[in-house]
Symmetry: C2
Subunit: 548 residues, 2 copies
């Protein structure tokens, strides 16, 4: 049996466009003479469609698109994900297309409702397995999470008889470390059933989520024998053959796709894809960002240039008297190195009159945080005005560490449309800068930008370290508190200093409102500040309070 | 059996504070010699705690608080909601406290996972009914949604024998029309089981949700014989008596609480409570808002003054040359009428230099939308600066109609912390203005503000009607499209004009990003732009696109 996995970049809601892409892939699969062609979970409508699924006409359009696609592609067995609606409710389903029509459907049985997933909000669970016979082999069709509970799956398929292959169509979002877990799951699955596994994953960016592709074939020993590209579309084909000794072998038709060189490279590629897809899928060609001369904006600009082409990135530096000559010149040098459009708009001519206007209210002064933040707000206002005038998307440049503790100005540096490195801890931002320079073979990001102590430059001689602990320590605390939901007691039990932990935890807790009012950004960790961490703003839970 | 319903304003996460309030209510119940005292769903930790439930220490603190509360209140049977954790998972539970300890628990069986609810994200369903014997009567304990599926409930309690009362502890969020549905549910429940129903609801504002209280007793004919206050704390007590003819009678101990005079009054009270609770529970005393002289800011200011006291509301008018003398003087008149602090900060001295700074970028001009929006952004920046300096919360003033179609400036008039009338359609804003004046017995909101055609005043002679359909028509389209998820075909089928429907639907769809970046606000309709409407920003679904 020859099997093709059509890993493509589906766009949520663009059913006509998704069907067009699938028809092109079908034509290639026909030329390769495959028996079975698979597309990802909810490929027809994109994943996750969220509350679009509450619109009856959306579900109708999904069915119509599927039927038309079936009619257009009559010559092969195709398994494709779609949102199914019948009188009993809606289902996350796989349609089997044969002879120009939908011959059967399989309904996803395990619906994830944790982390970034809300599938029980939308779908009912299916109850029945589906086993197809294709090219003389028996193929069990499953959808994403169905194979992640191996004990459940064993029970679910116990009456299915001898199966030669499990086909799993997925929309499995990326985070660092996910691939290992996925390969482990596929390996266990192959071994448990003594069968091959064909795993077809989605690729592309959808708001905060990145789908990383890397569709795979495993043989019946659990070895991964073929893997599609990461963070890009791909079509991989293999022959799945039942051997005389009852093992199932898999023979790939193409050379192995080049894979990311490291976990850091994986993060970089995720950020590039996420930036490109958010920009293009939302109808923008160009982006705009403030270049402070610091490392966050430098890394963001480099990612944007890679994602969109240097000609589509505009950098604006907005110096004040608190910016050192070095940072101003580093911003310019970066723009030169990246070969992007560059503007300098000093904020002093606006800051003065603004300060005077505010001075008419008694108590306003230029000594504190409000005056510091006014500078950031003027910069946000400049970027949003240029965005408004020229139709460019504003990228914000905050990293996960500062987003966590609220070391940002609401409606200042958080003003924009998309937050590229929002889920990247500061320590990883440094590593990304080195990675970018290494790949370029030259210091695209000026070395000074990497070595200079970080500063917001909103008052004389300010340093991040005046307000925050060392980033190494901060990131360790944040990983425990934010990503692992550990308590203060657990964190100090790990040897982290109590006073710093208390301070950081308080900062994280009281800045929920700022995060809620900041743009979406790309998720790269197991728990980002997005759909996977839903905390109330109004929340008086505190570790330091007496319970009495 | 004497039953007391302790309807109180629990704060999410403030377990010590919630326990303190419950101890006070317990003391009153002891004095009234009740047999059974009930508190709302998740009363110990507040509702909804969202992902706080993923913190193990939060669950531990919830148990400890419950045990301490039980020890402090040994003399009565108490039923109180808490988050229960055991090895098998977490449950939305009711604890029965007797003799200074937790004697039994009931686990909520039906977990809502639609609209604003995500309970399947956090809890496993219970499987067993709990019937208590109190004061010689049999009482079935249920939690919120458990009584909303009457067929399911009949089956669930079929082996429970003759029950004299169903106790339901709830955290049922308000929207217009909800009370009728709730009374209908309670009525059906009483009739089905021929028993009394005691319904104890939460009260208070929690982020976008309002819990409206109105706890109730129904007798076995389904008549509502006692109802607690709306939008306020209350303790209602009644004797529940099994009569010889097998009916169950309910005799209230207090006169009937005054109820909202109309649906409009209900909305007004919801907005007042929501504003007060968001402000105070987040640690603010004072609020700040821009007064344009228009109706939205006038209604918002009046609600804030009622919620927080006039002395805690600051109005700022920020006129430009496009503001008419009438609107400027109306803003001042409103501030005088409400007796709130008032400042005038003209924006021309800032707008000029801002424009000049932006002109250094070729293509920037003062003729279009970007220049119009710059004025709104300067105003947002002024308010945020004052907020930053004085620690006041900025209230934004956008209504649901303009929020829906994106007739707002991102990071301009949307800049702030809380959006009081975000879920109030413009037509209802007018009705609220009349209501406010009627209650005051004088035009607190100047009559001109109500009768003048609405305008953003960002360019000469601008009117809302230049860009938007009549608000009557707009609000009808929005109700169908946003709240009822109708398609263009369904809306035009109702006789709504196709060209206007197409335009409005496009505007709603393409402004999802603006809504996502705007502050939370009070939910008063069955579907607000918040947790109950979760649409992707990246979304190319369109009614006008050809499906081919």
């Amino acid at each position: 049996m020859r099997v093709a996995l059509g890993q493509f970049n589906a766009v949520v809601g663009d059913m006509a466009g998704n069907a067009r892409k699938m028809r092109e892939i079908y034509a290639r699969a026909v030329r390769a003479d495959v028996d079975l062609l698979a597309f990802p979970e909810l490929a027809v409508c994109g994943y996750p469609p969220e509350d679009l699924l509450h619109k009856r006409h959306f579900l109708t359009d999904c069915s119509l698109t599927l039927e038309k696609f079936a009619a257009d592609c009559p010559d092969k067995t195709i398994v494709v994900g779609f949102a199914e609606s019948d009188r009993g409710g809606n289902y996350n389903s796989a349609a089997v297309l044969q002879g120009a029509r939908v011959s059967r459907t399989y309904r996803k049985a395990l619906l994830p409702n944790y982390g970034v997933f809300d599938e029980q909000r939308y779908f009912r669970p299916g109850a029945d397995p589906l086993v197809l016979e294709v090219g003389g082999l028996k193929v069990a069709v499953t959808i994403c999470f169905d194979i992640w509970d191996i004990e459940w799956l064993g029970n679910f398929l116990k009456d299915a008889g001898r199966i030669q292959m499990i086909l799993n169509i997925s929309a499995s979002p990326f985070h660092t470390g996910k691939l290992t877990r996925r390969e482990d799951t596929i390996n266990k699955c192959a071994k448990q059933f003594g069968c091959a596994v064909a795993y077809c994953n989605l690729v592309g960016g959808q708001d905060e989520l990145i789908f990383d592709g890397r569709s795979m074939f495993a043989d019946s020993t659990g070895s991964i024998v073929a893997k599609a590209k990461a963070f890009d579309e791909d079509l991989i084909i293999a022959d799945v053959v039942g051997a005389d000794d009852d093992t199932v072998q898999v023979k790939p038709h193409q050379p192995a796709a080049v894979q990311p060189a490291s976990l850091l490279d994986e993060i970089y590629q995720a950020l590039v894809l996420g930036t490109r897809d958010y920009t293009h899928k939302n109808g923008f060609r160009k982006v705009l960002l403030g270049l402070s001369g610091g490392i966050d904006s430098a890394v963001t600009a480099a990612i944007a240039a890679e994602a969109l082409g240097a000609e589509n990135v505009v950098g604006v530096t907005m110096p004040s008297k608190f910016n050192s000559p070095e940072t101003i010149s580093d911003a310019e040098k970066l723009a030169e190195n990246l070969d992007i459009e560059f503007h300098t708009i000093p904020i002093a001519p606006v800051l003065g009159p603004f300060h005077e206007a505010l001075q008419t209210v008694e108590g306003w002064n230029s000594d504190g945080l409000a005056f510091e933040n006014l500078q950031a707000r003027i910069r946000g206002c400049i970027l949003m005005s240029l965005s408004n005038q020229f139709g460019t998307l504003v990228l914000t440049t905050g990293n996960k560490s500062e987003t966590a503790v609220g070391y940002t100005t609401l409606y200042g540096d958080t003003a924009g449309g998309f937050a590229v490195i929002k889920d990247v801890p500061k320590t990883a931002v440094y590593a990304l800068a080195e990675h970018i320079n290494k790949m370029a073979g030259r210091p695209v990001i000026p070395v000074d930008v990497i070595t200079r102590p970080p500063s917001a430059e909103l008052r004389p001689d300010q340093k991040d370290s005046d307000s925050l602990p060392d980033y190494d320590l901060l990131d360790r605390i944040l990983k425990g508190y934010v990503e692992e939901d550990k308590s203060v007691a657990q964190l100090t039990g790990q040897g982290l200093p109590k006073d710093v932990v208390d301070k950081v935890v308080r900062m994280v807790d009281r800045n929920e409102y700022k995060r809620r009012l900041s743009p979406p950004g790309i998720r790269i960790t197991p728990k980002a500040f997005g759909k996977d961490r839903r905390l109330p703003i109004t929340n008086q839970y505190s570790h330091s309070k007496d319970l009495a």
